[in-house]
């Protein structure tokens, strides 16, 4: 049985962690290497770093940031943002990423997912989907249609007439090994994940789904897991010191949810403490 993953997310621009609301109004949230080390110390199960730089200089800085994080980090690191080619992916992996997130480029050129999977393996390819809820529509029979979401690309600015769940199914068939699913409506808002979105995607794809966008409490994380996510991602609540990964894990355990203990030394026969 896999243990649910708690994943802090670092949005990085020009070597600094930033955070906004619905992808806008970015403000400074700290040094990425310090935060990465601190989150591992708190018991994070993995880190996601999204490069939200818009310039070539920013991209080069991002590679340096990945390398600096790698040197202190002994848990998995997924890096996304601006990956357009296998060349970009290789540069991130070389710098120290364990998995690469692809978003806009995969929508424009889905074959990129197959190329990445062939070269690096599906377990290395994370499809990032930013999804926005469609306005409720009336069905032809008069009933309300089930909810649906459109894919948004270019950091939440370019909405496509493309069903997010169908895209998830197609992309995982092409080779994506994991889906990082962000609700644009909920990003940075703190009212909890879009649980219908999480459930719809988790039941549609075979690969693990990471719920993202909107979590501000341990209850929200638990809800994401209960709706089929294998991992839950949050940013603001950890950056702002509202809570810590270890505190959240304690709360999850008290709700009966398994959480990895990172202070698990001493189980080896040669090292156990014998009174």
């Amino acid at each position: 049985m896999l243990i649910p993953r708690i994943i802090p997310c670092l949005d990085v621009r020009d070597g600094r962690v930033v955070k906004g609301v619905r992808f806008q109004n970015l403000r400074d949230a700290g040094d990425p290497v310090q935060l990465a080390a601190e989150y591992e110390r708190q018991g994070a199960d993995e880190l996601v770093m999204l490069d939200v730089s818009a310039t070539p200089d920013g991209r080069r800085t991002a590679l340096e940031t990945v390398a600096a994080i790698r040197s202190v980090l002994s848990i998995p690191l997924t890096v996304g943002g601006g990956v357009r080619s296998t060349h970009d992916a290789a540069a991130l992996l070389e710098a120290g990423a364990d998995k690469v997130g692809v978003n806009t480029a995969a929508v424009k050129e889905p074959a990129l997912l197959s190329e990445l999977a062939r070269r690096f393996g599906s377990q290395c390819v994370v499809l990032a989907i930013d999804a926005i809820r469609r306005a409720p529509t009336e069905g032809s029979q008069g009933g309300v249609l089930p909810p649906a979401w459109d894919v948004v690309v270019r950091s939440g600015t370019d909405r496509r007439a493309m069903d997010a769940v169908e895209w998830g199914i197609r992309a995982t068939q092409l080779g994506a090994g994991e889906v990082l699913l962000t609700s644009v409506d909920r990003d940075g808002v703190g009212v909890g994940y879009d649980l219908e979105l999480v459930a719809a995607m988790s039941s549609a794809v075979e690969v693990p789904v990471i719920a993202s966008g909107g979590a501000s409490t341990a209850e929200h994380l638990a809800q994401g897991l209960a709706h089929g996510a294998e991992a839950v991602l949050a940013a603001s609540i950890f950056h702002d010191g509202v809570t810590t990964v270890s505190r959240v894990k304690e709360q999850l355990r008290s709700m009966g949810i398994r959480a990895r203990s990172h202070e698990q030394a001493g189980e080896h026969a040669g090292r156990s403490c014998k009174p």
Binding site: E46, Q123, Q264, A265
Partner: protein
């Protein structure tokens, strides 16, 4: 020039940064190589693996290191295989039918079954058989769709369940093969790497500075 104490096998495009960083934190400066003579003579060798079984074996054959790797492991010389590095020790894999592995141990690698999510991405529980001297119980990080299930003769195994019970890792002397990623398994993984380095007789610089959460045991 002194020989580096640990050589990491570099074939193709495997991402080695995490393995290099883990060794650096353990106080060892590794060298990367695909040279048969270096691999033959190296004190300790790490065989990582990313991608597919076929691609990994193609890389190994193209570098002409198939025999030196096989000989090292059969002779029990210090070797750490990681992820796909464990799988290529077997005879073949359902992932790439028709491509022989190193065949150091008998058996065929198969795909996970039983209605679980594939790939297995994330942390899972490891239980070590009592005969294990390197492997210990704990939580390990996995990224795999295929697995080995038949324990090879002469090896002590650790086990994990993902729909079905599979080989988490296996050890024989200074030969250690892990399906999980010890280099990404936090402090538990770091301690396993350190035990293997010590078993291999590799000298480590005292400092493990930079590893978050690293504190000396209270006993």
């Amino acid at each position: 020039m002194p020989l580096a104490p640990v050589h990491i096998v570099r074939t193709g495009t495997a991402n080695l940064a995490s393995v290099v960083a883990a060794l650096t934190r353990a106080g060892v400066q590794p060298a990367l190589t695909s040279d048969p003579a270096e691999i033959e003579n190296a004190k300790a060798v790490i065989l990582p693996g990313v991608g597919s079984f076929g691609a990994a074996m193609e890389g190994i054959r193209a570098a002409r290191i198939e025999h030196v790797l096989r000989d090292r492991i059969i002779a029990g010389r210090p070797t750490l295989s990681i992820c796909l590095g464990l799988q290529v020790l077997f005879e073949s894999s359902e992932e790439t039918p028709g491509v022989p592995g190193l065949g150091v141990v008998p058996g065929i690698i198969g795909r996970f079954s039983g209605g679980v999510r594939i790939p297995q991405l994330g942390w899972n529980r490891v239980e070590a058989d009592p005969m294990c001297t390197l492997l210990a119980g704990g939580d390990a990080y996995y990224a795999n769709s295929y697995r080995a299930m038949t324990p090879p003769p002469g090896f002590s195994c650790a086990w994990t369940t993902h729909g079905e019970r599979f080989i988490a890792a296996m050890e024989r002397g200074a030969v250690l093969a892990c399906q999980f990623h010890p280099e990404l398994s936090g402090r538990w993984g770091a301690e396993l790497i350190e035990r293997w380095l010590d078993r291999a007789g590799v000298e480590r610089a005292a400092s493990s500075a930079g590893l978050p959460g690293k504190e000396s045991a209270p006993c």
